[in-house]
């Protein structure tokens, strides 16, 4: 019983973190038409800023989480304005741009903080007990924050006027602009939200698994897996794909060694993609 509950909680925690990062990645892909490989590096920077404020400056942990999200969001605004605006819809040059950003961000962290693994203090310590089952409070808090953010994000996209404008741009940029939607301010907002979500995930994962300058590479692969498996342009698809991949990653290591997990996860994705080449919930391309 204990192992089932722990496995389920771990699966949900991993899924929610993957989904947070993947949502930002997908937002930029569908609205700005860029493959932002730097999303993993931004997630890493979010974790390190939170670490710096919480441990280096001794700020309250929750406050430093908020500061980290704001700083990384502003970084996102700068990226939109100075780095990516020239390359909207230009796959080749936006890939070069984002890889240059990865290198710059990782090297900066390497040079200033160092390559050693750091750890953000726990957001909530202790263990929650209920009968024979005990779960670390840390994971529950992570799960709750992730769930709330996912809910807010989905409501924002589906209900708010700006969210609907984002949907319009992702469906047809030219048509959206003709309807009087300011594409640049919407893109800036998308960058702010995407980078902010990545920073939240970076802080929470940094508390659970520790920080390293290269932690972004792993989450980047996961984010891309989610987006491709769920289907480009589908929020619901990302949620479903996140649950599938998060469950695989959290439960398979209980039975087999770590490397086999990657092979199985890859196999599942390839089989699902071969059955539906446009992703589980993606629009069929023309």
């Amino acid at each position: 019983m204990q192992i089932v509950v722990t496995g389920a909680v771990n699966a949900l925690v991993l899924s929610s973190m993957y989904i947070l990062v993947a949502l930002g990645f997908a937002l930029l892909l569908s609205i700005a038409g860029i493959l932002n490989f730097a999303h993993g590096a931004i997630y890493m920077v979010g974790g390190y800023i939170c670490y710096q404020f919480a441990v280096g400056f001794g700020l309250n942990l929750w406050l430093s989480l908020l500061v980290s999200v704001l700083i990384v969001g502003l970084l996102g605004l700068l990226l939109e304005k100075f780095c990516f605006r020239a390359f909207f819809g230009d796959m080749v040059n936006s890939i070069i741009m984002s890889v240059a950003l990865i290198i710059i961000l990782e090297t900066t962290v390497n040079v200033t903080v160092g390559v050693y693994i750091r750890s953000i203090p726990q957001f909530a310590s202790g263990i929650i007990r209920s009968g024979a089952i005990s779960i670390s409070a840390e994971r529950i808090v992570t799960l709750i924050i992730g769930g709330i953010l996912l809910l807010l994000f989905t409501l924002f996209i589906k209900k708010a006027k700006i969210g609907l404008e984002m949907l319009a741009i992702s469906q047809d940029p030219v048509g959206a602009v003709l309807q009087g939607i300011n594409i640049h301010s919407i893109c800036a907002l998308a960058f702010f939200m995407g980078c902010g979500l990545a920073a939240v995930a970076g802080c929470l994962m940094g508390a659970v698994f520790g920080l390293s300058p290269f932690m972004g590479d792993f989450i980047l692969v996961k984010a891309i897996q989610l987006v491709i498996l769920g289907g480009i342009g589908s929020t619901f698809g990302i949620l479903v794909a996140g649950l599938i991949i998060g469950s695989i990653d959290a439960t398979l290591p209980l039975f087999v060694t770590g490397a086999v997990t990657d092979v199985v996860g890859f196999g599942v994705i390839v089989v699902l993609l071969l059955l539906r080449p446009q992703g589980l919930f993606g629009r069929r391309e023309p």
């Binding site: 020239a86 390359f87 070069i96 290198i103 590479d217 897996q225 480009i232 490397a259 993609l273 080449p277």
Partner: protein, 330 residues
């Protein structure tokens, strides 16, 4: 067209100046080791040659409309197959290097047919996962491959000197470039390009789309397998970290920075991004900044890659001249 011309029809349309530049470059690179003799420079050049083969093979796949983001994974197949065969069975590297290339091509054919259903970004992403999964397979077979620790004591191709390696890699580079160029300009290469431009049109005139995609993938992977195998028998140590996601993306960056539209783009891009950062070895920590600085300069000033620079300069000059003549006329 006379007979001699037809024989070298791939040079058709080339002006004599271009031929002179190619021949001059080849001669300079042939004579260079006799002049410098420094093992360090030779090492950099050998690595550049090996990576040019890898990047050019990547471009051969890319012209079929499939941008492979897991190319370092294919490179690792060639490297590990050749190294393990030579080490465990004691075969000579001269035999195992081609076998490494063939093994990579075989894997490419196996995965190519299912993958040929996926288009554009979906293919890129699945090939990216493939590159990651190859590393995982590598880790599960750690009895042979050494796992995360790496594979050591690989039999060398030549005795300790770098000079024979230099000439071997250089000749291999020339042969590979000739073969890839030949593949691109022949009828098959043209068909492959057609498939990339519009698969609807290609299917409607009776071209079997997936066969040509798989063919391009197999040809590209054969050469990258060979490059990986040569790298294994040159470096004598293999670590899975050399073939991770960042290595795959680096190959793509080499190609993009050089310019995907030109055959010599991968050559220029690889040489620029390997050799220029090496000039700044004194400040080792900050070399990545220089590397990314080159990338930024290229995308902002030469959006079509460095290979397009000559054409752009011509365009600017023509523009300036035109303005002058207009001013004269008015």
């Amino acid at each position: 067209m006379n007979k001699a011309n037809r024989k070298f029809s791939m040079w058709k349309g080339k002006t004599p100046t271009k031929a002179v530049i190619y021949v001059g470059l080849i001669i300079i690179l042939f004579v260079l080791p006799l002049v410098t003799r420094s093992p360090y420079y030779l090492h950099i050049l050998i690595l550049t040659f090996i990576y040019i083969i890898a990047t050019s093979s990547l471009r051969t796949i890319a012209i079929s409309g499939q941008l492979s983001l897991g190319h370092a994974g294919f490179m690792s197949i060639g490297a590990y197959v050749s190294a393990v065969l030579a080490k465990e069975l004691g075969w000579t590297p001269w035999l195992t290097i081609p076998l490494g290339g063939l093994a990579t091509a075989a894997v490419a054919v196996l995965i190519g047919y299912p993958f040929s259903r996926l288009r554009l970004i979906y293919f890129s992403m699945v090939s990216l996962f493939f590159g990651v999964a190859i590393l995982a397979v590598n880790a599960t077979l750690s009895d042979y491959t050494g796992g995360a620790v790496g594979l050591i004591a690989i039999p060398p191709l030549f005795a300790s000197s770098k000079l024979p390696y230099y000439y071997f890699c250089f000749v291999l580079l020339l042969l590979s470039l000739l073969a890839l160029r030949r593949f691109e300009v022949c009828r098959i290469g043209m068909t492959v390009k057609t498939v990339a431009q519009s698969h609807w049109v290609a299917s409607s005139v009776g071209i079997d789309e997936s066969n040509y995609r798989v063919l391009a993938l197999a040809v590209g992977c054969f050469f990258v397998g060979i490059a990986g195998a040569v790298y294994a028998h040159y470096n004598l140590v293999l670590s899975p970290n050399g073939f991770n996601l960042l290595a795959s993306i680096n190959l793509v960056i080499y190609m993009f920075v050089g310019g995907m539209g030109s055959f010599f783009g991968p050559l220029i891009g690889t040489a620029t991004l390997i050799i220029i950062p090496e000039l700044f070895r004194g400040i080792k920590e900050f070399v990545p900044y220089i590397y990314s600085g080159i990338m930024l300069i290229v995308i902002f000033l030469m959006p079509q890659g460095i290979a397009s620079l000559l054409g752009q300069v011509k365009f600017w000059v023509a523009n300036v001249r035109e303005r002058k003549t207009v001013r004269h006329a008015s």
